[in-house]
């Protein structure tokens, strides 16, 4: 800690350069690291043989001529969205575009990517060539196929060598942005869509269009959209760079975080909305209620956050809470009741956030924002969905996996934090309620929770209220996930030292201020690794959806596709494909967690 600054005043003293670590030539490196003793030599040889055997087994599985890989390529649409009607498919692309725009802008604003020397890129390409050559030699190819693969390997390695020479020629260290490399790679993939007929398969006539989306190749339906998507994400990145350079950083980042949190709800709404929905009800009922609460609530909160209001404010806030509970005694629209309770929460918290005109304005904007989201959520829940498709819940595949995982996580995060705070609170009622909830939920298998929610909950609902099966299941996931999250966050809360609590109390902070400004930031930073582990867990546990009859990614790969007459018995191919998709996303989350840890400086103190 103290070393860093004690070096600063000595800046004019010539600093001794650290000794260069000389690179060993390959032969000595191998001798030192792999064959340093007889035992190590045996270990090296045995491990190499074992790895080669496993790799060869995998290759002979993948390249066996009886594998029906076009079953996955042909069914990509089924894997991603199941039976979403073709004529409405533009909505799915719109969703992808929204997500990509947000990604592009965020990458620019948070300065994603780094630069690497061009020489390194050359080395990597040469490594890829060597890998391809190894693959060609190990895989059980015919002679001509082996020669073709070897030729490809040599070509890749040659490109790598050319890049390396090009880099070395200038004398200076040329660098290239990792983002450029990424975009070039993606562009290559998209370009291949136009050339290679992925999933080419001629169908028997008159298949049910719900199962196999359309005749022809997948490439025919996706090459144009994916090209547009690539252009969109690049454009979004440059737009984000413009914004980053022209506008102040913090408001943009805050706006982006809010957009990311709202996007899942908006996109679900967009995908499920009935195209013939009558907006009249919204204008005649929902909008007036929103405006009334917005104006009235803003006026009330403006008064409550005035420092001079004092104790009368707390009495008024409690009265609002009582009024909120009273609305449940009389017949009334649900949205009126919920908004009232929300207003009560804001009113009770108002004295904590009291202050100057700016602080008050910020608080009122917070109220308007939360109220807007809440009203819009309630409206969209009450909106009759949706696109009509015969059969059960028509959307599925990877999109349902993502929807359930993302929405469950977005809702369970605040809930889990609240539970953790309640469990560590000094108030016995909160503590015991939270402990009881957490212990009950953690003691029950997730499957029972899901079955309970899909079968039992509709029985308990008041008459006239209908909850879709997927919505019921999402509630189950939220409860389950929040209990586990709460325990992870609690670990972080306990890692905040007593001295931090005392320092915050000694400067006169209230418990709420101490929690928000001092304890939670430190606790959440410590809990990043377990929290990300939890996110990955929830993402993969969505595969349990199949048990209650939702067609999620795994179910389609395991049951639906091997059941198609064209691809009878292609279970292993689809399972491998599905696990690769899961792995890609889980691995990205893991990488994101590492970046987040580095950014927040975890482990540096």
């Amino acid at each position: 800690m103290s070393e860093i600054s004690s070096h600063v005043p000595m800046a004019n003293v010539p600093v001794a350069a650290p000794p260069e670590i000389s690179k060993l030539p390959p032969r000595e490196w191998m001798k030192e690291n792999l064959f340093s003793s007889p035992f190590n030599s045996v270990l090296t040889v045995a491990t190499t043989i074992f790895l080669l055997a496993v790799f060869r087994g995998l290759l002979s599985f993948i390249f066996n001529p009886i594998r029906q890989w076009d079953s996955t390529a042909t069914n990509l649409q089924l894997f991603m969205t199941r039976a979403y009607p073709d004529e409405q498919y533009i909505r799915i692309w719109f969703c992808v575009a929204v997500i990509l725009i947000l990604t592009g802008v965020s990458m620019a604003v948070w300065r994603a990517g780094s630069t690497m020397p061009v020489a390194t890129l050359g080395h990597k390409l040469m490594g890829a060539g060597a890998f391809l050559a190894l693959l060609a030699l190990l895989a059980p190819f015919s002679a001509s196929a082996t020669i073709q693969w070897l030729a490809a390997a040599v070509a890749v390695a040659a490109v790598g060598e050319a890049v390396r020479r090009f880099a070395g020629r200038g004398g200076t260290d040329r660098t290239v942005s990792t983002l450029t490399v990424l975009v070039v790679t993606l562009a290559g993939l998209v370009a291949s869509l136009w050339v290679v007929p992925y999933g080419h398969h001629s169908y028997i006539a008159k298949r049910v269009p719900r199962v196999l989306a359309e005749p022809g190749t997948v490439a025919l339906t996706t090459k144009l959209p994916w090209t547009i998507m690539l252009m969109i994400v690049v454009a979004a990145y440059f737009a984000g760079r413009l914004m980053r350079d022209r506008l102040p950083a913090n408001p943009i980042r805050a706006a982006l975080v809010v957009l990311w949190l709202l996007a899942p709800f908006f996109l679900v709404y967009l995908v499920l909305r009935d195209p013939d929905f009558d907006m009249g009800h919204v204008f005649s009922t929902d909008l007036p209620i929103f405006i009334a609460y917005a104006v009235g609530g803003a006026a009330l909160l403006s008064w409550l956050t005035r420092p001079s209001t004092g104790e009368t404010g707390r009495i008024v806030a409690v009265l609002v809470l009582v009024a909120g509970f009273c609305t449940f005694l009389t017949p009334m629209r649900q949205v009126v009741r919920l908004d009232m309770l929300l207003l009560a929460v804001f009113a009770l918290a108002a004295p904590t956030f009291a202050g100057g005109p700016r602080a008050r304005r910020r608080y009122i904007f917070g109220w308007l924002g939360v109220l807007g989201v809440m009203s819009w959520l309630i409206t969209s829940i009450n909106t009759p969905s949706t696109v009509t498709v015969p059969g059960g819940f028509f959307i599925g595949g990877f999109s349902i996996t993502l929807f359930v995982a993302v929405i469950a996580l977005v809702i369970s995060f605040p809930l889990g934090i609240a539970l953790a705070l309640a469990r560590t609170s000094s108030m016995p009622i909160f503590r015991q309620l939270a402990t009881g909830f957490i212990e009950v939920v953690r003691g029950v298998p997730l499957i029972t929770v899901l079955i309970f929610f899909s079968i039992m909950v509709p029985l308990f609902l008041p008459r006239g209220m209908h909850l879709g099966e997927v919505a019921a299941v999402v509630i189950g996931y939220v409860l389950f996930s929040s209990a586990y999250l709460a325990e992870n966050v609690r670990g972080g809360l306990q890692s905040v030292t007593r001295g931090q609590h005392e320092a915050a109390e000694a400067v006169g902070m209230t418990t709420a201020q101490k929690t928000v400004f001092i304890v939670l930031p430190q606790a959440l930073r410590v809990s990043i690794p377990p929290l990300v582990g939890h996110c990955i867990g929830v993402f993969k546990e969505t595969s349990l959806l199949a048990i209650i009859g939702v067609f999620d990614l795994l179910y389609i790969g395991r049951i639906v596709i091997p059941g198609q007459t064209e691809f009878m018995g292609s279970t292993r191919e689809s399972l491998l494909f599905v696990s690769v998709i899961y792995w890609i996303f889980a691995y990205q989350m893991s990488k994101a967690s590492q970046r987040l840890e580095r950014r927040t400086g975890l482990g540096e103190r």
């Binding site: 800690m1 103290s2 860093i4 600054s5 004690s6 420092p307 009291a354 202050g355 100057g356 700016r358 602080a359 030292t497 001295g499 931090q500 005392e502 320092a503 915050a504 109390e505 000694a506 400067v507 006169g508 902070m509 209230t510 201020q513 400004f517 001092i518 930031p521 430190q522 930073r525 927040t600 400086g601 540096e604 103190r605």
Partner: protein, 262 residues
Amino acid sequence: MTDATAAEPTGGQTRDLSGARDMIVCEGVSKWYGDFQALDKVSATIKEQEVVVVLGPSGSGKSTWIRCINRLEIHQEGRIVVDDVELTNDLRNIEKVRSEVGMVFQQFNLFPHLTILDNVTLAPIWVRKKPRAEAESQAMSLLERVGIPEQAHKYPGQLSGGQQQRVAIARALAMEPRIMLFDEPTSALDPEMIKEVLDVMKSLALSGMTMMVVTHEMGFAKEVADRLFFMEGGQIVEQNTTDLFFSNPTEDRTKLFLSQIL
């Protein structure tokens, strides 16, 4: 240790503070941790602008006493009145006292996830409800006063121990307290960093702040303190003005302590 300053004991100890009003009044304060009695009927009065130093072996209850004064510990018997506000379970009184009393800890306890500037401005903005610009300009002038304005945008982990403790003093001063409590402020510091913290504390004492300091720095005590308390076993064994305390201690225990420490 700080022998250069100990050579000329010309602090404020000859000041006549008998006319000043009482800032901290403790009457028969007792506290137990389980069966262990940490404080045993501690009674003392500290005047406005007075600087008192509390001495004693470890485990004698001096930290517990000072922490009771802004209710980081809760006393079980007796009464504590700070600036005419009695410390009871009433939350409003506690918050009022805490915003009037600044505290500096042995382990600094800066907020590691905030910059130095945010550490200093957080409480004025949210507790005192000051506008941000005003709080920041005040924080910068305080950081200049403790001698580290150039570190404002660093994080606590990047600073040395002495710098961190000076930031902690600035953070406490930002609330514009009437009383400052110091709980062994130099015990966790390297010897060469102690002086920079003590210098800040001396200038604070000269500016007329009411201060209560738990420390083992005898040089600081001789130079700055108006009065000394010696504690042992949760009791105040001896209290006297600085001159008399060092030149003519009455209790045997005090003599033993002074002979070992000086």
